[in-house]
Amino acid sequence: MNLVIVGNSAAGVAAAEAARRASPRARITVIGDEGAQAYCRCLIPEILAGTADFSRIILRSGEDLRREGIEVAGGRAVEILPGPGRVMLEDGREIPYDRLLLATGAAPVLPDLPGRELQGVMGFRDYSDALEAVRIAGAGAGDAVVLGGGLVSLKAAHALKKRGFARVTLVVKSPHLMSKQLDPESAGLVGRAFEGMGVRIIFGADASAFLPGPGGGGVGSVLLEDGREIPAGLVIAGKGVRPRTGLAERAGGAAGRGILVDSCLRTTLPGVYAAGDCAQVAGPGGEEAPWGLWPLAVEQGRRAGLNMAGREEPWQPGGVAQNAVRFGPLSVISVGRRGGEEVAVRRRHPAPGSLRKFFFRDDRLLGYVFVNDIRDAGLYTWLVRSGRRVPGLGRFLAGERLPLEAMTWLSGRDHILREG
């Protein structure tokens, strides 16, 4: 059995390792276009901030994977031939496969505006992006503009402040930050925290053009739709990502927003699977995907790996949105969705400005947002994920104390012994 995985990040690595566990004799090859070392993509803000170097964000080194009997081939896949089962690389190599996984991830979307080609206008997705931002900082840029109010933008803005940019401006089209994840009140706490860090936030605005700086070549400022011009030696666009579906589509595979897969992570191409940010699970619950969530990529990758190795185990779509993030002293966890009834617990302790909001309907927890007070978050995540009905939920949530039945159910059974 010859298993090939295109993509050396969350889903790719999880798939390779799961396949190895399931099939000790299979030949497994991972092809990565960012070199042999798989790294923790979510940690590139640490590189930008200067709080970590590459060695500290390695997910699996080539050596780690080789120790597990997984070959790593650096290179960019440009075409797949499902008929004979071959992956063509940019450098002309051909890699044969019996089963192929596409774990190609997603690419940041740069706004289609004048000046987008200027040096210093960039997305924030890869290690190379972080290095480029560091280089620009080293060249003396003191002004940075970050477009968007989502997670990537906030992480970038926070890292830019730590890197030493004197003026960092967030340009946010929505009326508040993290509009996908947060309600206005929680977002207000996040916004105030960012302003406290010295980040300027302009709401209800968007860029209309990137203008070159006096030296030519590099970006010098961002022109807003309302005519304001904001100096910027660096512009990071956190305006979303696009699943990398090209390989599958060029081979004739079906794609919606992402590469369409069934519950076993199979694409419409024979012997070809997809997992992670590039994939979109068809069927109920899959329509909102791809999520762009690391844990989901790991779960999908593992399941795809097992299936490629011969274990037909379906992966159930219907996960929930979930994000946890910390910006210095500010912690935010957001799970599920908003709506229904709402219970909010506001406290000065344990952390100033702590807020816990629960959203529920018909005694089922739809989602929650925790700002600063993150205790027991996982219990609630699983209550959301399960969709389980807890009679009197609202009352329990207000007291932040779940009923015993829910607790014992959440906590499993086997380790909890009952006296005969």
């Binding site: 923790c40 994000n323 205790r375 219990l379 994920r385 059974r413 380790h415 909890i416």
Partner: protein, 168 residues
């Protein structure tokens, strides 16, 4: 050797919280309770006692076979070490305290270290002296916490349980 677990008998729990103090103390720099208190240390307990429905329920990490916290860790810090121990204690320097694991643990068993640059901390079994009994088990005065292996039936039910919720 089969991985031993901290087994819980909720009916025997009086809610004295001795397990929490012992756990925190075992994770202090002083390594003992009075020494840690005297030095003003603030080590964090990694076991929790929930009060629910008039009963006490001690909970800590179950060291899952497919741990959601490991899947969720974006920093390759949380991992399953030899023998089935789910931990980040030996990769603390990689932890950035993003709370993905905190958000993902179905037992609510992971928490923030409370330091200025906080990390995620959890039951890491770095609390057992020569006799191998975890500090919380040693501290439990009523036998609500014991240490042993889950029998085969229970082990399979756990697997089933976790699979169910992982997929839900």
């Amino acid at each position: 050797m089969e991985f031993k677990e901290i087994l819980i008998r909720p009916d025997k729990c009086t809610g004295c919280l001795s397990c929490r103090l012992a756990c925190a103390a075992a994770h202090s720099r002083a390594g003992n309770f009075l020494g840690a208190v005297a030095a003003g240390e603030k080590p964090r307990a990694r076991i929790f006692v929930h009060r629910a429905g008039g009963k006490n329920l001690p909970l800590n990490c179950r060291h899952c076979t497919d741990p959601p916290c490991v899947d969720a860790c974006v920093a390759a810090s949380m991992h399953t070490a030899g023998g089935g121990l789910v931990t980040n204690h030996d990769r603390q320097e990689r932890c950035i305290g993003c709370w993905m694991c905190v958000m993902s643990c179905p037992f609510g068993a992971i928490r923030d270290s409370g330091e200025e640059d906080p990390r995620a901390v959890k039951c890491d079994r770095q609390c057992a002296p020569g006799d191998g009994l975890p500090a919380c088990v040693r501290a439990c005065p009523t036998g609500a916490l014991t240490y042993g292996t889950v029998d085969q039936f229970s082990a399979s039910s756990r697997e089933e349980f976790l699979r169910k919720w992982l997929q839900c």
